[in-house]
Symmetry: C2
Subunit: 306 residues, 2 copies
Amino acid sequence: MNVAVLSGGVGGARFVQGLLDTVDPSGVTVIANVGDDLDVFGLHVSPDVDTLLYTLGGVADEDRGWGRAGETWAALDVARGLGADAWFQLGDKDLGLHLARAQALERGEPLSAITERFARALGIPARILTATDDRLRTWIQVEGGELPFQEWFVRERHEPEVLGVRFEGAEAATPSPGVLDALSDADLIAIAPSNPFVSIGPILAVEQIRAVIAERNVPAVAVSPLIGGRAVKGPADRMLKRLKGGTGPFQVTQCYEGLIDALVYDESDGEVELDVRPLVTRTLMSDAAGRRRVAETALEAAAALR
Amino acid sequence: MNVAVLSGGVGGARFVQGLLDTVDPSGVTVIANVGDDLDVFGLHVSPDVDTLLYTLGGVADEDRGWGRAGETWAALDVARGLGADAWFQLGDKDLGLHLARAQALERGEPLSAITERFARALGIPARILTATDDRLRTWIQVEGGELPFQEWFVRERHEPEVLGVRFEGAEAATPSPGVLDALSDADLIAIAPSNPFVSIGPILAVEQIRAVIAERNVPAVAVSPLIGGRAVKGPADRMLKRLKGGTGPFQVTQCYEGLIDALVYDESDGEVELDVRPLVTRTLMSDAAGRRRVAETALEAAAALR
């Protein structure tokens, strides 16, 4: 069974963990968001990709919710002492990955190939691909202007109200090698419970990816990132309210119009009328059993639709 | 009293330490070699400048002879585990400085200004300037081709025989702001006991620096890096033998023809005929007393010449 998963960071990584516990991992391809990539100290950082690598590689700091377990901060402490503007947290181990990536990029290795290679080095049994190797950057439109995603998210603590989202470079971006094949060969296309606007949105902004999903012959199932109308983490609820007029399952399906056949959502979000098949379960993925339950529900939805 | 010191890494830093213990540090300007600068993982590294900063800032690892005391290696370990080619050692704290420098360079701050700023942040009472803010790189000519300095020095452990040295970018390089003034205002121009070819050579390859030293009105004193015909550290002896035909004080003066009035050298190198005033002492700088002795001898030489 082949599954292609569109994924952002933490929520997506947990969903993929559940999936890898449920199906043969060798059939799973993760298509990761790169819209929140940024340059820090001249190093290319891919926060969502790295969260996937660390979580699936078993080296993530689960308590903190980002970065690596057992992390140290010697480099950043020194940089700050020398006057550096260090608003983006980079631990020493995390830096090690960014250094290896910087060297590989400099040698001309595409981001997707680097990501696949790092996933193998971390012992991850699934394939992780970046949505695109082209430059694609998410900009957040706020009162009075635009902010690069991470400046809005980290530096401004995603406080400024979001008026819209723009994906710089999306028109010209082509899918990374392997992405279209993974979608075409999939028995199930899954959209992880990530932020529809800034985690899944940038992936779907790559026209060829959107087109192949729109023209799919297999079930596509999304998992809502909401529990009781609230995001488990991050600003998805505020963005849904502002940009789609509400924070229920219906508004989530609106983000994926024409692209999904079913939505898995939490029982706390009640019974609602949807244009796609609803699957209600408990979607909190705080432990392995919870993660498996969500993955199994998505697989059941696909089986029922087939 | 103003002293301008041309300096490479370890030996130069020790000489400057002795000088700062002997004269008013506020009158001391160090003009540092940048010929061995390199890009590692996309970060600009200035090994000689950093050795000066760490040694004079009191944070150097004196036993190892390079890098910082209490260093950790988390980043490099991770990078290696991900397949990075990590032949150049970068500790986590050291990386912190390179990150801060990378950010400052990206913002357009010149290398010399960054260096001065870092020296202040490290509490160094003297001024440290880079010889030039322009790109100047030392290439080592070996059998069958050329190697960038650090690849020859670190990766090849300076084993390949040196047939010559080339300073890429030297013709176009201009002195950093403050360098010519420091040389013109100096009561003494000192050349530290660094490698004449690859530590001092790149500084003198900047034409305006060489010219202002050649036309000096004040004493210029070099300190030989040899003890008993051998370099305390590094390949200076082998290079002197190959490129100047011997490893004595005379060959050292040949490297600085027309640029010095006196040479301080070690008593183990015997009595030799020189075209400049010889000053014989014990030049090993393994402790503070030794460092002061060498600095004082250079100052005495200058006083005698005045």
